[in-house]
Amino acid sequence: MIHTKKMSRIRITGPKPNLWSLINELHAMKLMHLLDYNGKDFETGNSFPEAEPVSDKLVKLRSIISQFNLKLTPRIIKDLSVCSKKFSSIYENYFDLTSKISSLKEKKTFLFSQKESIEPFSSLNLIPANFFGYESISVFKGTIKKPLLEIEIEKTTKDFEFFFSEFQGKKVIALFVSDQFKEKIQGLLAEHGFSEFHFEENSDLKQINSDLTETEKQLTELENKLNELKENEGQFLSDYEFNLEKENEKLEAPLKFAVTENAFVIDGWVALKEAKEMQAKLESLTKNKIFIEFIETKEQAPTALENPSLVKPFEFFMNLYALPKYTELDPTFLVFITFPLFFGFMLGDVGYGIVTLAAFLFLRTKFKGEARLLLNSLIVASLATILFGFVFGEFFGFEFVEHPLLNRVHDLQLMLLISILVGLIHITLGFFIGFYNVLIQHGFKHAVFEKGSWLIIEAGGLLVISEMILGMTSFGNILGGIMLLAGIILLFKGEGVQGIIELPAILSNTLSYARLFAVGLASVQLALIINKFATQFFQQGGLMIIAAILILLLGHLINILLGLIGPFLHSLRLHYVEFFGKFYEGGGKRFLPFGAEKNNV
């Protein structure tokens, strides 16, 4: 629980004919984290020859799946061999449909642009044939942006024919001039933002319109067929992709292994608990043709967190931050204890606790995976909120207990003191864990220099405070001073100048825990204001009662939302910054057994 899962390094050597059955077994066991071979003595293996058609199919499958935008839950297929034929017929069908659709779409765009060019001239009684067949006349047909007057053309020539009409908000012109003025007119038109229409001499608007309807009809028909294909075969495609991916994993596994002409070496990590069992199983499977050895190594093993189901949701916070290294302590259990406490201490209201609990319980049924872990941890936090609600005697901001254990609104100084004390304890705990971490990683001397020094400084500081501020002791100044000095010297030896620079941080870190009561105070004051406001409306009676109820509902809803974000982030921050800062390094590699789902945390 406190430690990450114990791992043992394992190396499997065997003859190549056994490789495929071994890979199959390893994949099914989901126990071994494979390591890439990157030594120089052997070559790395090649994937099995079947891998190429499989990955080729995968590419096709994925392109269809992304085109169809499929988001179905895949199921296990027992026998993959029958699927291949089914898939190729589906793919053929799909390819045929999509290529037909795309060519029809092209045709539609073309017809549409033809229609758009020819249609405007129908109001001018011009048909396409009118624009062609001249020897010495230039024809301009198209739209302009700025209006063009005949006088402007007359400046160039008087010998022209000009048609103009407005069609669906566009200014459409047809201009016939003698060839010799072609360039000048072109220039003039360019100034007016001319863009030309293109169509054929023998185009016929009626024909185009009927072609267009026909194309659209065909298009809908094909798109319906494509949709049908998606509906009918979507599940199969998802299943096939999922299972084929697994197959591919197996076929490409030898890329990680070291091989010789006739033998292979597989290197990896297995959880210590399961290692012996796995060894026995594999050896009996291959009739003792493979050799399994356990290797002593100083290399960092991959990290697998191991927590009871109640604590497990809090692994979410470790995933969010960084996984602990194999040799580090796994702080999930500590987060499990303090995160809900901090959260509850800040939100601390029976009513809010019940509302959020109900909301999280409801949301929990809607989500899976990571989000579910988060919701589970928030449920624990909601329970803590209810608990602290009783301590503070608050129900939606109303004080339902006459003399609660603690009154957040009036006992400000006491609340501040409690917060700081909690901080002091939390930080000290962090240093102790840090001490332990350094102890098991680098030995006692380093632990004393790096973390013990901080503990001594802390104790010294407390002694000084005990005499100077509290006046409780008469020896605090002298003893505390000596301890402070000793601590600082040790710290300097352990962490150098950097450690000295960080000295004031211990004060700011402790004070930072004042947020524990500050966030709660803001939340409870807001609740009080909402209640006060609503009470005034209630007293007026009549219709105002409805307004009062609305104010209560809306006000508390907003306050709960704020109250969720605030305490959540602040509690998280106290862990990540103040607490983890004292001991946590992180950066562990996730233990990912061969054959297990990659996104399954």
């Binding site: 400000l412 004070l511 004042a514 947020r515 500050a518 602040h570």
Partner: protein, 77 residues
């Protein structure tokens, strides 16, 4: 003139909060912008980005502590 003193004390406490909150806001704005930028490139940075962004929040806490100390100067009513 007890009221005037009380008022000045209240204003003092207010300034302590306002000043520190403003400072924290400026600092968080800068860090938050950079953090979101980094996260757009690499989503796994969320945890680290969050931590860096909330670090200046401690400034407000200092302001709050000072404010409470100033309020402590007020005569008990």
């Amino acid at each position: 003139m007890v009221e005037l003193e009380l008022g000045l004390i209240a204003i003092g406490a207010g300034i302590a909060i306002a000043g520190s909150a403003y400072a924290a806001a400026i600092a968080e704005k800068e860090i938050g912008t950079a953090a979101v930028g980094a996260m757009a490139e690499k989503e796994e940075l969320f945890g680290k980005a969050l931590i860096l962004t909330v670090i200046p929040e401690t400034l407000v806490i200092f302001g709050l502590v000072i404010a409470i100390m100033i309020l402590g100067l007020a005569p008990a009513s």
